[in-house]
Subunit: 106 residues, 2 copies
């Protein structure tokens, strides 16, 4: 799996995006992250692992708690990949228009 693969895959789950949302307001212990969710701590721990593997957060062990901190760097790569397609969604130049333009080009 490439970097982009794991980044997009990690972002493809609502729970994980919510975790990142929480982390945007600052470092948070895993148990606090888990509270809003109707699932076991184990399940949240697994989601955190996926995010960690994708490099979207870092975990620091401090005493018995794990402190999670957002690392948005991989998101930049994802955003960069997406912006290559910006012209296709920016209205002014949608995919149909481009299609027609390409045909008229010949």
């Amino acid at each position: 799996m490439t970097n982009l693969d794991s980044t997009f895959a990690a972002l493809s789950h609502e729970t994980r995006r919510a975790i990142l949302g929480k982390l945007a307001s600052g470092e948070t212990p895993l148990s606090d992250l888990a509270k809003p969710f109707n699932m076991s701590l184990t399940a949240v721990s697994k989601h955190v692992r996926v995010l960690s593997d994708a490099g979207l957060l870092t975990v620091e062990r401090r005493g018995r708690t794990r402190h999670c901190r957002l690392n948005a760097q991989p998101m930049k790569q994802a955003a960069d990949w997406l912006t290559d397609y910006q012209s296709f969604w920016s209205g002014q130049f949608d995919s149909l228009a481009r299609h027609l333009a390409a045909k008229g080009d010949r």
Copy 2:
């Protein structure tokens, strides 16, 4: 699965991103899409289905060929979601800096 879920999931595979890349240069029949890949047409057809389900492309049947066309609209939503985090990766205000700022805030 929400819209964002399926968009990010669809983008999490190299082959599917490559398919979208190809479509950026214009409408393409499925069989042409499949050529560069070292896998069966069936496999590519499945990837196209995933992209189609996510709304990232549309398929138009024309005679015996299926013509695929890029639809970047869902990418805009994904990009919009990501830009909420832009401040975290824009160097000027990275996650560590924000973390320290939050601590100093008190």
